[in-house]
C-alpha cells in the first residue's frame, strides 16, 4: 500500500475523531436531570446523543457515497467509483479530481447530524413548553448571548434551567456540524481504504464512541453549550481526542497495510 495513502487514512481518522470530540462540547447534554426538566439541555447522556447524531450522519454520508458510487449522482462525479474500486481515492493524484465528491459526502454527513440535533432539541422543547409548561432557560448565563433575553428570572428554584434555549440550540447545531463532518471523514477514510461498508461503518462508530465518551468525561457528563464555563476545558479534550484517535488510526492503517480482506 502506498505510504501517502496510509498517512492520509491516519490523518483522516485523527481529524475525524478530533472533530467528534470537539463537537460533543457544543452539544447541550443535560443527562437525566434534563429529562425531568430540571436542567438545561437535551435529556439524555452524551453517549446516546453522540451515537444518535453520529449514526444519522453516517447513514446520510453512506447514502451519498452509495449515490455517487452507483446511484443517481454517478454521472456528476464519474471519477469517484473507479478510484474507490482501485483504492486510489486517498492518494495525491486521487484527491484532486474527487474533491467535489468528497465535499459532498462530508456535507451530507453534516446535514444528517445537524438534522438529528435539531429534531432532538426542538421536539423536546415542544414537550417542555406545552406539556410540562416550563420556560426554556439557561441557568449558566444571566442573558442569552444570542437573543439577549433575561434568563435567571425564569429558572425555577432548585433546578438548573429547563429545555434547550436559543443559545443552546445554536450550540447544538455547531456540535452537529463538527460531529457530522468528523463522522463523514472517518467513514470516507475507512471506505476508501477498501473496508467493506459495514466494517467501515462500525469502525467509524467505534472511533466515534471513544472520542465522544472521552469528551464527555472532560465535561463530567453535562454541558449547556459554548456559553457554559465548562467549555473552557476544551484544550484538554483536544489533546486527549487527538492522541486517542491517532492510536486508533494506527491500528486501522496496520489492518490496511496487512490487507483488509
Amino acid at each position: 500500500m502506498d505510504p501517502i495513502t496510509l498517512l492520509l487514512i491516519l490523518v483522516g481518522i485523527t481529524i475525524g475523531g478530533l472533530l467528534v470530540g470537539v463537537g460533543v462540547h457544543f452539544v447541550p447534554v443535560g443527562g437525566a436531570p434534563a429529562a425531568m426538566a430540571q436542567a438545561t439541555g437535551i435529556g439524555t447522556g452524551t453517549t446516546m446523543l453522540a451515537f444518535s447524531s453520529g449514526a444519522l450522519g453516517l447513514i446520510s454520508a453512506g447514502f451519498t457515497v452509495h449515490d455517487i458510487y452507483s446511484g443517481s449522482l454517478k454521472g456528476a462525479y464519474p471519477n469517484f467509483a473507479p478510484s474507490l474500486n482501485d483504492g486510489t481515492l486517498l492518494t495525491a493524484s486521487g484527491i484532486g479530481p474527487n474533491l467535489g465528491a468528497i465535499v459532498l459526502v462530508i456535507a451530507a454527513g453534516i446535514v444528517g447530524s445537524m438534522l438529528m440535533m435539531v429534531i432532538l432539541a426542538v421536539m423536546a422543547n415542544i414537550l417542555y413548553a406545552f406539556a410540562i409548561a416550563v420556560p426554556l432557560v439557561s441557568a449558566k448565563v444571566k442573558y442569552d448571548p444570542i437573543t439577549g433575553d433575561r434568563q435567571d428570572l425564569y429558572v425555577t428554584r432548585g433546578t438548573e434551567g429547563h429545555g434547550t434555549p436559543t443559545v443552546a440550540l445554536i450550540s447544538a447545531l455547531i456540535g452537529g456540524l463538527l460531529a457530522g463532518a468528523g463522522g463523514a471523514i472517518l467513514y470516507l477514510a475507512l471506505v476508501a481504504s477498501k473496508f467493506s461498508v459495514p466494517t467501515a461503518a462500525f469502525i467509524a462508530i467505534g472511533v466515534f464512541f471513544v472520542n465522544s465518551v472521552l469528551a464527555s468525561y472532560n465535561i463530567t457528563g453535562t454541558i449547556e453549550g459554548f456559553h457554559d464555563p465548562k467549555f473552557k476545558r476544551i484544550p484538554r479534550a483536544i489533546i486527549a481526542c487527538t492522541i486517542a484517535s491517532f492510536v486508533l488510526g494506527i491500528w486501522a492503517i496496520a489492518i490496511v497495510y496487512l490487507g483488509v480482506v
Binding site: 443527562g31 437525566a32 447522556g45 452524551t46 453517549t47 446516546m48 451515537f51 467493506s196 459495514p198 466494517t199 462500525f202 469502525i203 462508530i205 467505534g206 472511533v207 466515534f208 464512541f209 471513544v210 465518551v213 472521552l214 464527555s216 468525561y217 472532560n218 463530567t220 457528563g221 453535562t222 484538554r236 479534550a237 489533546i239 486527549a240 492522541i243 486517542a244 492510536v247 486508533l248 491500528w251 486501522a252 496496520a254 489492518i255 496487512l258 490487507g259 483488509v260 480482506v261
Partner: protein, 281 residues
Amino acid sequence: MSEVKELDWYTLAAVGIIGGLVLIILAALLNTQLNVWYFSFLGAAGAILATVWGADAVRKICKYGIGTGVPSIGMLAFGMGLLATLLGLRIGDYLVTQTGSSYAIYAGPVIALVLSLIQGAIIGYIANAVLKMKIPTMQIGMIFIAGAASIILMGFTTAIAGAFDYKTMVTFVFNTGFIAPLFMIGALPMLHPFNACLGPDEEQSRTLTLAVEAALLSSIMFGIMSLFVFDQGPNATLIPSLITIVLAVIGWAYAYLAYFKKVKESGVIILNTGVLPKKEA
C-alpha cells in the same frame, strides 16, 4: 447482611483472560480438528467469563462516579476493543500465510488481547493524566474493560460463526450486520449489572450474578443469529446453533433464579405503618 469477602479483581482478570482465551481457542480447535461446528457454544462460555471480569472492572471504576452514566464506559470499551481486536485477528491470519502453519491462527486472539490491553492503557492514561479525572482505579480498570471487550467480541464471534479468524469475522459478523447487535448486546452484560445494582448496599456477588444472567441472555440471541451462518453451504446443519440456544436457555433460567434469590436475600421487609395522623394528638 453477612459480610462476604469480595473476589479480588486480579483474580477475576485471571479467570477472564485464561478462561476466556482457553475456551475460545478450544472451541475453534475442536471445530477444525473434528470438522464439526458443535463446539461453538464454548466461545459463548469464554465470552461469559470475560463479561464477569469486565463487569467487575466497570463496578470498580464507576464506584467513584464518572459523571456520564455507567453505559458510556461499556460503549468506550467496545470502541477501544473493536479495532485492536480486528488488528490482532488480522495479524493471526497474516501469520498463517507467512509461516504456512494453520496453528498460527490461534496466536490471533492472544495478539488481539495484548493490543486491546495496550489500547486500554493508553486511554486510561489519557483519562487520568490529560482529562484529570483523578480516579485511582481508572488506569487498570480501562486496561481490564478493553481486554474484556476484546474477548467478548471474539467469544461471541466464535458462537455466531464457529471460528474467530479475521476472514470469518468480517464475512459472517460484519458483512451480515450482526456486528450491530454484537456491539450493543455484547456490551450490555458488562455495563448493565453495575448500572442496575448500584447503590449503598451493592455487593459483588449479586452484581456478578446479574452479569452472568445478562451474558447468557445475550448468548441466546447470538445462538439465534448463528442459525443463519451454520445453515449455509453443503454441510448446512442447525444442531450447533440449537446446542448454543438450549444450553444458554437452561443456564439463563438457572442464573435468573440465582439472581432472584440474591435479590430476595438483600431485600428487607417493609412494615406498613399507615399514613400520619391528620391532627397531632
